[in-house]
């Protein structure tokens, strides 16, 4: 009998311990993602997953918030003309003569109580050092040009500095992308600039606490597998809700889902997680335990049109193509309405967006009239021919193995067949499609893919006539359609240097109307990220743009 009592007591203690353990593990959050960053150095190689993880451990001078407005993270306020922190200056040549070009000086002040994870204060020395690394052409920094546009940085004290930029454009007031490095740790690696990317501590000792100034710091990494973050004791901001965050990479989305259901992970990151159709299916089965939210973002899914093709060079044909397809039905039926139809490349949440543009409704009759008008008025076996006997046939390309895109392609093919256009689908693996076919303009008809962009992102590389990739310019530029329009060029050039918001908005409006009228591409929809969050987890706010939700990780907490 005594033995039974002891056994029962033991069982009770175990149960209590387990329950306590379960409650205490809520101090740890395990996030599942589908990718792993190549490097943790914030200036080398652009990867969304790297930004996602680093945002928990590092803060930038300024970012864009949930309202798609620039805000300070490390600075006290943004530098604007209104608050006197921004001043235009005339650029002079070496003889002191005005060149006619204008630059801008922007003064920033770092917040007090900013420390790297080893207790070293964040100062202007770090700002200046970062600039040195960024502008050196051999360090491997990705956005080198943005650093070389800076002529000088004047350091006023340990917290205040002025950036002197030779390029005056509307983005002058924020320093997005200026990811500061800890000078006291990285200067040794920078002694040989060409070897910097191999010797940076972010590569050789990424768990060094001094590399991080955010609410967390990285304490353990197994390359290709997981990253562990723990609270940064020198973080003076809001105390995060979790003592530890583990980010596990599980590339197969079906395995990612299984890991979530088994409890091995708590939450699937929307920025690098399940596809929309998988999330919709998951929501139908597990909505009692998980909240699934969808955030349409700046991922513009569209069809680039090869304007060198004589068929597509005719605006009537391009308009017929868009009138023939019911994009609302595609969004509703294939994506449960979670991916809003795009009418131009500017997202409705972007402040520059305008509704005052031409919108193309689903009107197959109008499409037929346009095609007749364009000379495609003979029909044989359901397909159109022109007077020379040429068939109205186009090739549609996209990424092979992408189930969503393949489904959309089939739907589009059937819509176009209904108006007499023969579409041949030819897909390629992503690296071939983007690395060769699209980048060298080898596609002949339509190419379906997505552009990632930032709020108020100037489409210079995608719409300016000087950005058409050619053999002569070594295939630089992303204007794959070959769109050449003088007015568009003028608008892009004007927007870039227009500092007044109201005037700029008008110019953006004109650009959007021109884009909608000329149709160098057929807008489809804005892709949505799916966030699968357990119901006990609160505070996650998707942003819809490249500054991920982890920039506010200190707001995440367990529901009380």
């Amino acid at each position: 009998m005594m033995r039974v009592r002891l056994w029962l007591l033991g069982l009770l203690v175990s149960l209590v311990t387990l329950t306590s353990t379960e409650a205490s593990t809520k101090q740890r959050l395990v996030i599942g993602v589908t990718q792993f960053p190549s490097t943790l150095n914030p200036l080398i190689d652009s990867m969304l997953i790297k930004s996602y993880i680093l945002a928990m451990a590092r803060r930038q001078i300024s970012i864009i918030d949930h309202n798609w407005e620039p805000v300070c993270q490390l600075c006290t306020e943004l530098a604007t003309f209104e608050n006197g922190r921004a001043k235009v200056f005339s650029i002079k040549d070496k003889y002191g003569r005005a060149t006619g070009e204008r630059g801008v000086k922007t003064r920033f002040t770092l917040k007090d109580e900013l420390f790297w994870g080893d207790g070293t204060p964040v100062t202007t020395e770090d700002i200046f050092f970062t600039w040195q690394v960024g502008k050196h052409k051999e360090t491997g920094v990705t956005n080198h040009q943005s650093f070389t546009d800076i002529i000088d940085i004047k350091v006023h004290d340990t917290k205040s500095f002025t950036i002197i930029n030779k390029k005056l454009d509307y983005r002058y007031y924020a320093l997005s992308g200026f990811n500061i490095l800890p000078a006291h740790l990285e200067k040794d690696a920078f002694k040989e600039p060409r070897d910097y990317r191999k010797k940076t501590l972010y590569q050789t000792n990424p768990t060094h606490p001094g590399l991080y100034n955010g609410p967390y710091r990285i304490t353990e990494i197994v390359s290709g597998s997981y990253i562990v973050l723990e609270q940064n004791e020198y973080w003076k901001g809001k105390t995060p809700g979790f003592k530890q965050i583990q980010v596990k990479t599980i590339e197969k989305t079906s395995a990612l889902e299984a890991n979530l259901l088994s409890g091995a992970i708590d939450y699937i990151a929307g920025e690098a997680g399940l596809s929309l159709d998988q999330a919709v299916s998951f929501e139908k089965r597990h909505s009692e335990r998980y909240q699934v939210s969808y955030k349409p973002g700046l991922i513009y899914e569209h069809l680039d049109l090869m304007l060198d093709n004589p068929i597509l060079s005719d605006l009537r044909v391009r308009k017929a193509l868009i009138h023939s397809i019911d994009r609302t039905a595609i969004s509703n039926r294939l994506f449960s309405g979670k991916q809003p139809v795009a009418h131009n490349k500017i997202h409705p949440l972007d402040w520059i967006h305008t509704n005052n543009i031409k919108k193309y409704s689903f009107d197959p009759q109008k499409a037929r009239e346009l095609l007749n008008d364009a000379g495609w008025n003979t029909t044989k076996a359901g397909f159109r021919y022109n007077s020379a006997g040429k068939k109205l046939q186009l090739e549609l390309m996209s990424t092979a193995g992408n189930r969503s895109r393949e489904l959309v392609e089939q739907v589009l093919q059937s819509y176009w067949k209904a108006v007499g256009i023969d579409i041949k689908i030819r897909n390629q693996p992503a690296r071939v499609l983007f690395g060769e076919t699209i980048s060298k303009r080898k596609f002949t008809g339509l190419a379906m893919f997505a552009w990632l962009s930032a709020p108020e992102s100037l489409p210079r590389t995608t719409l300016h006539s000087q950005s058409v990739p050619t053999k002569e310019n070594n295939w630089s530029g992303q204007n794959y359609t070959g769109f050449k329009n003088q007015l568009m060029d003028q608008l892009i050039d004007s927007i870039e240097i227009e500092l007044e918001k109201d005037k700029r908005k008008k110019l953006w409006g004109q650009l959007q109307r021109l884009y909608a009228e000329q149709l160098p591409a057929i807008p489809l929809y804005f892709r949505a990220n799916s966030f699968i969050v357990p119901r006990w987890l609160k505070g996650i706010r998707p942003t819809g743009h490249m500054f991920t939700s982890t920039n506010w990780v200190e707001d995440w907490h367990v529901i009380k």
Binding site: D45, A264, N474
Partner: protein, 320 residues
């Protein structure tokens, strides 16, 4: 025998050198380079930055020039830098090779441990109920795709029963032997299923053929115990074709467990080589593929040695 091993080793080195050239050439001729692929993830990157990065990583140079630079460094022990992982190639591959050897070694050992006795039983009990069940299971094991099997195991043992981990090589913060073995169970089971099924069929077929030979009848007529006839006399000869198959499978076992490694997030060679090829990480892909080639060549040499041990009639010494 020693001379034979030395000769085969020298041949293997030449093969590796030739393979390194062809692999590098094929990788270099693949469309798209890693810098071009950056465009999709960074909307702000300028054309000038793209060109500068290509020059920095020597991607703008011709393939042959890059290969010559690589081979010059390789003979000095520098196998290059992985662009995907931003570390020396061997720092990436060494632990992954160990992980693959562990996974494959255990799977292979388990497969042989099960397949050999099962195959012998099937050969010695033709048309029995158990033999028919074994055949059925073998066909099922060969036919079931590893992707589906992996998901099924995860669903049954991780999601529903909750007794085995769904992925990973260890619990974060643990890493003890027991924990690692715990994490190995499902990937080993997934990999072993098809291997067990295939090897069982081969052993069974080979044993059936050997058991019909005259010397087996003679052995039985001489009054040897059936156990001795099977395991001492018949099995040795029946294993020769099986050894061939194992040797041929060796290379693909290491580089071809891609699906299992992906499903269970097992950091092995298969996944690494795949990622390197997709990500245009020339150095990593080249060394990974060369390692797979080296393993295949090594396995073939070992198979030849095993033949000599199994069959004394096989003699590699040159005849005068």
């Amino acid at each position: 025998m020693i001379r034979f091993i030395i000769n085969r080793t020298c041949q293997s080195l030449i093969i590796l050198l030739v393979m390194s050239f062809f692999i590098y050439l094929i990788l270099g001729l693949m469309p798209g380079d890693p810098i071009d692929l950056l465009v999709g993830s960074d909307p702000t990157i300028s054309s000038g930055d793209l060109q500068r990065l290509k020059e920095l990583y020597d991607i703008d140079k011709p393939v042959l020039e890059r290969y010559l630079a690589w081979i010059t460094n390789a003979v000095q022990g520098d196998f290059g830098y992985s662009r995907l992982f931003a570390q020396p190639v061997m720092d990436i591959l060494s632990p992954r090779l160990f992980n693959s050897i562990t996974l494959m070694g255990v799977s292979l050992a388990l497969a042989l441990l099960v397949a050999i006795p099962t195959g012998v039983y099937a050969a010695t009990h033709p048309n029995s109920l158990l033999e028919k069940a074994i055949n059925f299971l073998c066909f099922a094991g060969i036919s079931i795709p590893p992707f589906w099997l992996a998901l099924l195991f995860i669903l049954l043992f991780s999601v529903l029963a909750g007794i085995l981990p769904a992925s990973g090589m260890q619990t974060i913060g643990d890493g003890s032997l027991i924990d690692r073995v715990h994490h190995m169970i499902l990937p080993v089971a997934t990999l072993s299923m098809a291997t067990i099924a295939g090897y069982t069929r081969h052993v069974s077929a080979s044993m059936t053929e050997v058991l019909q030979n005259d010397y087996i009848r003679t052995a039985r007529a001489k009054g040897l115990l059936e156990k001795s006839v099977l395991w001492r006399h018949a099995l040795k000869n029946a294993l020769i074709p099986v050894v061939t198959i194992i040797a041929l499978d060796f290379g693909s076992l290491f580089s071809g467990a891609l699906i299992t490694e992906t499903m269970f997030s097992w950091l092995g060679m298969g996944k690494t080589i795949y990622d390197a090829i997709i990500g245009s990480d020339y150095n990593l892909a080249l060394i990974g593929l060369l390692l797979a080639t080296l393993l295949t060549l090594t396995a073939n040499i070992m198979a030849d040695i095993a033949y000599a041990m199994l069959d004394p009639r096989i003699n590699y010494q040159k005849k005068n």
